[in-house]
């Protein structure tokens, strides 16, 4: 802020100097006399940069539905710890009008995007990713969840350091993948110079499309001990990654035009809801007895319709 004010001062100061007709003197600053050329350069570059300067003000609201599983809740908390630019909100009742509620909440908390973990039937987790005022929003089915608490994930990294985002090449394959990539990049990338972020980079996110699912991994970047300050030589070869977690796999279901609603832009043609799968399994199990009975009656009918021919030697030894 202080810097900006100074620059505006320089702009106003210059013309008065000229009016007086006095020999131009270097501009005085707090530290001493400033070179004239430098001042000119600054004033010249200033309007240009101010119009083009890009500031990422992303803020993500993270929340979940009521009656969420502990496992999924932990996953959500992991995400909260990974995203320093997020705001955790209270649980939201998961009913048909949740979209409006959520939009309101997002607006109230001044966020620009939202991650909503929706748990249904205590077992299925859906993740909503939405850009707030004008969409789009995506609904994913989440499976293969591993939280950060698992002991086999041995890495650790700074809380709030900005992650590197790596995307697999097949995100460029189709329009909906491109859109998803942009959304993920905006939501999961920590804004530069965010006040809670730290100036180092010691972890990397992996977003990879395998089998039409987006797989998420989080790795810590580690170099052998007491060498991290002299990484220049040979550091590349010794660099290893240790997984920190969490892990999950996102299966996109639908992309909507608005935030939590609006016209459907994309629908996964291969998607089968877990409810259907379970119903199918149940039906399969239920059909066992019916099948047996059916087979029995069929056999009987068959025997009745094709009776055996009377054997001509049947009473050969009877006499």
């Amino acid at each position: 802020m202080g810097k900006k004010r100074k620059q505006s001062e320089t702009q106003t100061a210059e013309p008065t100097n000229k009016d007086e007709g006095a020999p131009e003197r270097p501009k005085r600053t707090l530290v001493g006399w400033k070179d004239k050329e430098e001042v000119a350069k600054q004033t010249e570059s200033n309007p240009d940069s101010s119009s083009q300067v890009f500031r990422n003000k992303e803020k993500v609201m993270v929340t979940c539905s009521r009656r969420i599983n502990y496992r999924y809740r932990h996953l959500m908390l992991n995400m909260v710890s990974l995203l320093p630019h997020c705001k955790k909100d209270n649980k939201v009742e998961s009913k048909s009008s949740k979209g409006a509620t959520l939009n309101e909440l997002i607006e109230l908390s001044g966020c620009s995007s939202c991650l909503f973990f929706e748990c249904r039937k205590h077992q299925d987790l859906y993740l909503w990713m939405a850009k707030s005022p004008s969409g789009p929003s995506v609904k994913f089915l989440v499976n293969a969840v591993h939280t950060m608490e698992e002991l086999k994930l041995t890495g650790n990294h700074l809380k709030g350091s900005r992650p590197l985002l790596t995307f697999s090449g097949n995100f460029e394959k189709d329009a909906h993948w491109k859109l998803l990539k942009e959304m993920i990049m905006q939501i999961f990338g920590t804004p530069k110079e965010h006040r809670k972020s730290k100036p180092y980079h010691d972890h990397v996110f992996v977003f990879s499309i395998v089998d039409d699912h987006i797989w998420f991994r989080n790795y810590q970047i580690s170099v052998p001990h007491n060498e991290s300050d002299k990484m220049v030589r040979g550091g590349l070869d010794k660099m290893t990654l240790v997984e920190v977690g969490p892990r999950f796999c996102l299966n996109p279901i639908k992309i909507f035009g608005g935030s939590f609603g609006g016209p459907t832009l994309y629908e996964n043609p291969f998607y089968v809801s877990p409810n259907q799968i379970r119903a199918l399994e149940k039906r399969q199990k239920a059909g066992k007895y019916a099948k047996k009975v059916k087979a029995k009656t069929r056999r009987k009918m068959h025997e009745l319709s094709n009776p055996l021919e009377p054997d001509e030697f049947a009473d050969m030894w009877r006499e």
Partner: protein
């Protein structure tokens, strides 16, 4: 507003589609028989009436995407091509693909940060809050150590088992060897006897006894632990006799003294002195051979 109506149509569409899906699945199932259902089921072929609004998607993408000339520092993102298709069900291959993708990204980022002269990894003396707590990391460490110990123990057990097996084999080999040697020796003796008999000496003669002694190495051995010229019950080992030459005491007294322990502490006499240490008379070279013989 057209939204509610649209939603209702969507819903009807959905229900229709669901039915279709169920039909498809049923068909599939009847074809494949009783196949164990996995958690992640996909339709065999894409359903026909799924929506794909490409223009809408692209428009949305343009809406939300950042300006073109945004500095890379804002994004920190990399696109990394997978070399080959990854099989989902092969856990190892899949994880390896993710790992290589992450590693590749890190390398690129590292080079970029180096070229820009920006800090990359945190310096070792930069302490700040971590994602996982120290208590949790302690637990992780404990688990790792436990695993390591388990592996080591298993290894040790395996080694012990192996050693036991080998020792058994060696023992069997030794026994065999010994039996063989014994047989050979007996045979050689027999042969030698035969030879003697043939050459005309009488069996069991004095000479033969002596020779036999030589062959067995008995000549180098003292005949027992006793010293020559010492009574079996002499506690002083024959020394008492040499010391007492007064004449007054009779032979009987001397004998008794030597037998019942008269003449100072016996304990001191049993200690080694420089003299006795250098005195190798008590050791015989043949004793080892003798031992071996006894064990056989």
């Amino acid at each position: 507003m057209g939204l509610p109506s649209k939603k209702s149509t969507l819903l009807t569409e959905n229900s229709e589609e669901d039915d279709n899906v169920m039909d498809d699945l049923r068909e599939e199932e009847s074809e494949s028989g009783s196949e164990s259902e996995e958690e992640d089921v996909k339709l065999a072929e894409p359903s026909k009436n799924s929506i794909y609004n490409r223009d809408g998607l692209i428009e949305k993408l343009q809406d939300i995407s950042w300006p073109e000339n945004v500095d890379w520092m804002h994004k920190l993102s990399f696109d990394i091509d997978q070399e080959k298709e990854v099989d989902v069900n092969d856990d190892l291959a899949r994880e390896l693909a993710f790992y290589t993708q992450a590693l590749e990204g890190t390398r690129l980022a590292f080079e970029k940060f180096q070229s820009m002269g920006l800090p990359f990894l945190r310096p070792p003396d930069y302490y700040a809050e971590m994602v996982k707590t120290d208590a949790h990391m302690h637990k992780v460490k404990g688990r790792l150590l436990a695993q390591k110990r388990q592996i080591e123990e298993a290894e040790e057990r395996r080694k012990a088992r192996e050693a036991k097996r080998i020792a058994k084999e060696v023992q069997a080999e030794k026994l065999k060897e010994r039996a063989k040697q014994k047989k050979q020796e007996i045979e050689s003796v027999k042969k030698w006897r035969k030879h003697r008999q043939q050459s005309g000496f009488p069996a069991g003669g004095k000479d033969s006894e002596l020779d036999l002694g030589f062959e067995d190495g008995k000549a180098f051995e003292r005949s027992g632990k006793k010293r020559p010229g010492v009574f079996p019950g002499d506690r002083s080992g024959g020394k008492a006799k040499q010391g007492g030459g007064k004449g007054k005491n009779g032979k009987n007294r001397e004998f008794r003294n030597s037998k019942f322990g008269f003449g100072g502490r016996k304990g001191l006499k049993k200690q080694n002195t420089a003299e006795t240490t250098n005195d190798l008379r008590g050791f015989s070279k043949g004793s080892v051979a003798g031992n071996k013989k006894r064990r056989r």
